[in-house]
């Protein structure tokens, strides 16, 4: 018997209202996250990775709606919950951190006050107890001099420190699931390394399941247990991090990995980087068959006619949505 996953997304469809009608940003995405596991959703701008994350959190903008599929959290279909109950989950059982900590923090509240609010909203600590808990959190996310930072304003903190404050807020009520949307993209590389290190440590301590959204496959290699690669609103490949990054099956994953230089590779060795021709298609454009076919070196007639389903390939729970995957179908 397998234990029930912490998060199970099945056939999620999310669309946006646009002047040209409803546009599907997420088109049948399924994924699952176990307790203590980090699942990366990787892809380029417009692939639907952030919209998937926001759909799970229930934080979609007014112009978007979930049209289909199920999101089960601890076995409960959250889409069927009354709004008040769903709100009760957010910030308590599931929490989110964003790319831009400055826009996510309230500029007119001190750091300590903002974190303490998380306890007040959920009634998880009294006023006096809250201060002690906030200071403990600040220490936990390695903010130096927490007594002084408690009374600091967001603008007085560096980008890395603001992201730590966001993490502290997200973890205040010890959520079971943390959704991180490009949390290190705006940070310098030494600060990114600190934040990734911190997330790994906290996960080990608290057993949090993490959904980590990123465009950077090297960050995926650093932090993921499992990877979901998205393109054009669909999952094109998923599996364990070693399978997907070391033995990629989908031509898109292969192409992206070969487009980046590896350590030690230089142009002086005659190494030329792979090019994926064309550009990311707009979700407004209807594409029959596989969304990647126009850019794919392997595309054949079948790819233009039939949408490839996610099917098993070599590896442990490794699957690709391609008619002609590398290494063939399992």
């Amino acid at each position: 018997m397998t234990a029930e996953p912490l998060l199970q997304v099945d056939g999620l469809v999310t669309s946006f209202r646009t002047p040209r009608g409803q546009v599907r940003a997420v088109d049948g995405v399924s994924l699952s996250v176990a307790r203590g596991q980090t699942v990366c959703i990787a892809g380029e701008s417009g692939c639907g990775k952030s919209v998937t994350a926001l759909s799970v959190m229930g934080l979609l903008p007014d112009s978007a709606r979930v049209d289909g599929g199920a999101i089960r959290f601890n076995g409960v279909d959250v889409l069927a919950l009354p709004p008040a109950e769903r709100r009760g989950l957010r910030g308590r059982s599931m929490a989110m951190i964003f790319q831009e900590p400055m826009t996510a923090l309230n500029p007119v509240l001190t750091i300590g006050h903002q974190i303490a609010e998380v306890f007040a909203i959920h009634g998880t600590a009294g006023r006096r107890e809250a201060r002690e808990k906030v200071l403990a959190l600040l220490r936990q996310v390695k903010i130096s001099d927490p007594e002084r930072r408690y009374d600091a304003w967001p603008h007085q903190l560096s980008g890395g420190m603001k992201q730590r404050v966001m993490i502290a807020m997200a973890l205040a009520n010890r959520p079971e699931l943390l959704i991180a949307d490009e949390p290190t993209t705006a940070l310098d590389v030494t600060i990114q390394a600190q934040v990734l290190h911190l997330l790994r440590e906290l996960q080990r301590e608290l057993g949090t399941g993490i959904v980590f959204v990123t465009h950077d496959l090297a960050v995926v290699a650093e932090i993921a247990d499992r990877v979901v690669v998205m393109y054009g609103g669909r999952v094109v490949e998923q599996g364990g991090v070693v399978d997907v990054l070391e033995r990629p099956a989908h031509p898109y994953t292969l192409g992206l990995l070969a487009a980046r230089p590896r350590p030690g590779q230089t142009r002086h060795d005659g190494h030329r980087l792979n090019v994926i021709p064309g550009s990311v298609p707009s979700p407004l454009v209807r594409i029959e068959g596989c969304r990647y076919q126009a850019r794919c070196p392997r595309a054949q007639a079948r790819c233009r006619e039939e949408v490839p389903a996610l099917a098993p390939v070599a590896g442990d729970e490794h699957a690709a949505a391609c008619h002609f995957p590398e290494g063939g179908l399992a």
Partner: protein, 323 residues
């Protein structure tokens, strides 16, 4: 030996910080602090560092967009500051810039043709049919078609826009191009398209590049020489192969160790560097890196280490008391 194409000598760039009543100058921010670097013909120099290290200001100073507060900028051995207007104009044709954001750097109210005409107009070169022929040649050179000339910037993708930015910089047949994070606004699948174009153009025309970037994997791939900056100063410079194989300055070591490893599940030997980059307005005394340096000694807090040669071949230089 010929003079380097482009040379900065103890170059500093300061900005006034204004505040209070009447917006008086309350402090001076030294963004670039005594930087000496040179670029030879056909050389690709990478300038790396984290935000606030001064790499963008240095790049802009190299094309004359920021006058140096002190120090000198020499193009082909001639000090730009001592030249008359006409001569300076001639000289600056040789050093052109490509900007980071291809959305912000192209005038949205001009068609691509008009955008590419500007350098010819400014320098009074190639009129009429000749100009049109040159512009067509330019768009083809960067992998676009003449029909793109009639489009507006918003009709092009990010990658296509950056190609136009490169075409504009190439218009006057420069010898050096200063490229400020030319790939970082582009999608992953587009970056290698533009990077390969830059490699081809460099080889075809024997161009020199100053490639400013925070992406160390791409710098290792592209560059011949690398300069690492921290809080306005160069802390280490070396041939790229030497720098990536054996970084010597503690900051360079920490920076390279922080780059995510594309191979999954490989154990890290080092712990991440602690603390943040200080504001240049509150630069620490002595070596600016000492508060974060795992090896800092008392003298690191007192005196600023000079950039000096640290290898027998005389190619690798670092500014550290402990080397």
């Amino acid at each position: 030996m010929t003079a380097p194409l482009l040379r900065a000598e103890a170059l500093s760039v300061e900005f006034p910080v204004r505040g209070g009543l009447f917006k008086r100058e309350i402090a001076r921010l030294r963004a670039v602090d005594g930087v000496s670097l040179e670029v030879r013909a056909g050389e690709v120099l990478g300038v790396v560092g984290e935000s606030g290290c001064g790499k963008t200001t240095l790049g802009r100073a190299m094309v004359g967009l920021h006058p140096p507060t002190s120090g000198r900028l020499l193009v082909e051995g001639r000090d730009v500051a001592t030249l008359g207007e006409a001569e300076r104009r001639l000289l600056t044709r040789d050093v052109q810039m490509v900007f980071q954001d291809p959305f912000a750097s192209l005038n949205p109210r001009k068609r691509i043709r008009q955008i590419l005409e500007v350098p010819f107009e400014v320098h009074g070169l190639a009129a009429g049919a000749e100009r049109e022929a040159r512009i067509r040649e330019l768009v083809e050179l960067v992998g676009l078609a003449p029909e793109h000339l009639d489009r507006w910037p918003h009709e092009l993708s990010g990658g296509q826009r950056q190609r136009i930015g490169i075409a504009r910089a190439l218009a006057l047949q420069p010898k050096v191009m200063v490229l400020d994070e030319p790939l970082s606004a582009l999608d992953m699948s587009i970056q290698s398209q533009v990077l390969n174009l830059l490699v081809d153009l460099q080889q075809r025309f024997g161009l020199s590049y100053v490639f400013i970037s925070h992406d160390l994997s791409i710098v290792e791939y592209l560059c011949d020489t690398v300069a690492v900056m921290y809080l306005g100063r160069v802390v280490e410079t070396a041939p790229a192969a030497a720098l990536f194989a054996a970084p010597r300055h503690p900051y360079t070591q920490a920076l390279l160790a922080a780059v995510p490893d594309p191979v999954p599940r490989r154990e890290r030997a080092t712990r991440p560097l602690e603390g943040d980059v200080p504001s240049p307005l509150e630069a620490p005394a002595g070596c600016a890196f000492h508060p974060r340096c795992p090896l800092a000694q008392p003298r690191c807090r007192e005196s600023v280490p000079e950039l000096r040669v640290i290898d027998t071949a005389g190619l690798q230089r670092a500014a550290c008391h402990l080397l």
